[in-house]
């Protein structure tokens, strides 16, 4: 039994303490046949013909923030990467790097949250690993995941399918996650109701694909770097993207926090938002399906794919002018000027 309240180096050394940690924290919360077997590898039936595989690492600080925590984020991030590729997510693995001195209570909370989110998303965490590093070496805890899913026959999503005239849809307000985490850090003492939008989007994606079928060309989750960054990744030799500023859904508190710090919400991370490119005829049906879904209540058409300026993402201001949204060199930093 674990009597200590903190992670010790010994928890990572493979002996009794390690075994007890795995049982009482991980298996107890995540609780499924494959994991309970605790083999060196999980043996699972192949979920389909075309497998989708993804990996992600999570280092968010603070580990717990309004609207979520690093565990919930780990599941959502991985599930969403699979979902926007058109895959049905099935299995996750997870590796934890724990800092010596990490409070066990925090670890339990994170793992419980992970388990709860996995249940909601309909995925199973079938394998895991833990390592412990010396105090000062891991900033609390880091989580790495891999996700496995399958892509049903006939689905093909990708930016090569973008056509001028396709409409750009998002499922709700932008910038919530990044601002929630930023506001929760020390050194930026603001008081806000902003909460992360962290959520598994696989069910929403399935709803959208039922409504729009092959007319849904492409999906991306608008994580690191925000909507403007992911759209820059879609812009290429053939197509550009044009956003309409007045159509962008941004919560007033997020807009206000961005004004305070001189940040642009279009470059702020989301963890429960996707952008979809949809053929114009199918867009109304897809939008309606999104709005009927709990994670799409504020879904909106925010712009379109265009042939006018290949390679560029632009924003039409409320004043009739158009400006370019470039790829930023690094992340945004709060400014005073």
């Amino acid at each position: 039994m674990i009597s200590d309240e903190r992670i010790l180096m010994a928890h990572g050394e493979g002996g009794e303490l390690t075994r007890d940690l795995i049982q009482s924290v991980f298996v107890a919360a995540l609780d499924n046949d494959e994991l309970r077997a605790l083999g060196d590898a999980a043996i699972v039936p192949a979920p389909g013909d075309r497998l989708a595989l993804t990996t992600d690492s999570f280092v968010v600080k603070p580990a717990v923030f309004p609207g979520g925590d690093i565990g919930k984020l780990a599941v959502c991030g991985t599930v969403n990467d699979l979902a926007v590729a058109g895959a049905v997510p099935r299995y996750l693995t997870t590796g934890f790097v724990l800092e010596e001195g990490l409070e066990l209570a925090l670890l339990r909370e994170v793992v419980r949250s992970m388990a709860e989110t996995a249940r909601q998303a309909g995925v199973t965490v079938v394998a895991g690993d833990t390592k412990v590093v010396e105090r000062g070496a891991a900033d609390g805890l880091y989580i790495n995941t891999a996700g496995l899913g399958h892509v049903p026959a006939g689905r093909s999503l990708g930016p090569e399918r973008l056509c001028p005239g396709d409409l750009l849809l998002v499922n709700g307000t932008l910038g919530d996650h990044g601002m929630a985490v930023m506001m929760a850090r020390e050194g930026l003492p603001f008081d806000t109701p902003i909460a992360s939008d962290c959520a598994p989007l696989n069910d929403l994606v399935e709803t959208m694909l039922v409504a729009g079928g092959a007319y849904v060309r492409c999906l991306r989750d608008a994580t690191r770097g925000g909507l403007a960054t992911v759209l820059n990744e879609w812009a290429g030799d053939r197509v550009g993207l044009a956003l309409n500023e007045t159509a962008l859904p941004i919560a007033p508190a997020v807009a206000a926090a961005c004004e305070f710090l001189g940040l642009d919400p279009l470059y702020v991370a989301n963890e429960g938002k996707l952008v979809a490119a949809v053929a114009p005829d199918a867009a109304p049906a897809v939008l309606a399906a999104m709005r009927a879904h709990p994670l799409g209540g504020e879904a909106a058409v925010v712009g379109q794919v265009t042939a006018s300026h290949p390679g560029l993402v632009t924003l039409r201001t409320p004043y009739g002018s158009e400006r370019v949204l470039p790829m930023l060199a690094g992340g945004q930093l709060p400014r005073i000027c």
């Binding site: 603001f190 008081d191 806000t192 508190a253 926090a257």
Partner: protein, 82 residues
């Protein structure tokens, strides 16, 4: 330079610090440069300090200028089309 935004004073404590608010985002700022500020006033905030109390009358005067402009421009358009 100078990112300063207009925010409303929600509360003032005994130490010259005010809780200000913009769309539910709150922050404590210093009133050392605006000792005359009162709860309900709007102030310009820059790096945690209130710079000036916003003058509502002046603001309305500026907006009224814009309304006059509308009438003026409408008249100008009517005349140039005549």
């Amino acid at each position: 330079m100078c990112l300063a935004i207009p925010v409303r004073i929600k509360a003032i404590d005994n130490e010259g610090m005010a809780t200000v608010e913009l769309s539910s985002v709150e922050r404590k700022v210093s009133l050392v440069m605006t000792p005359e500020a009162r709860v309900g006033d709007y102030v310009l905030v820059h790096t945690g300090f209130a710079l000036n109390v916003l003058d509502e009358q002046e603001a309305r005067a500026t907006l009224a200028l814009f309304d006059e402009l509308e009438a003026f421009e409408a008249q100008y358009r009517a005349e140039s089309e005549a």
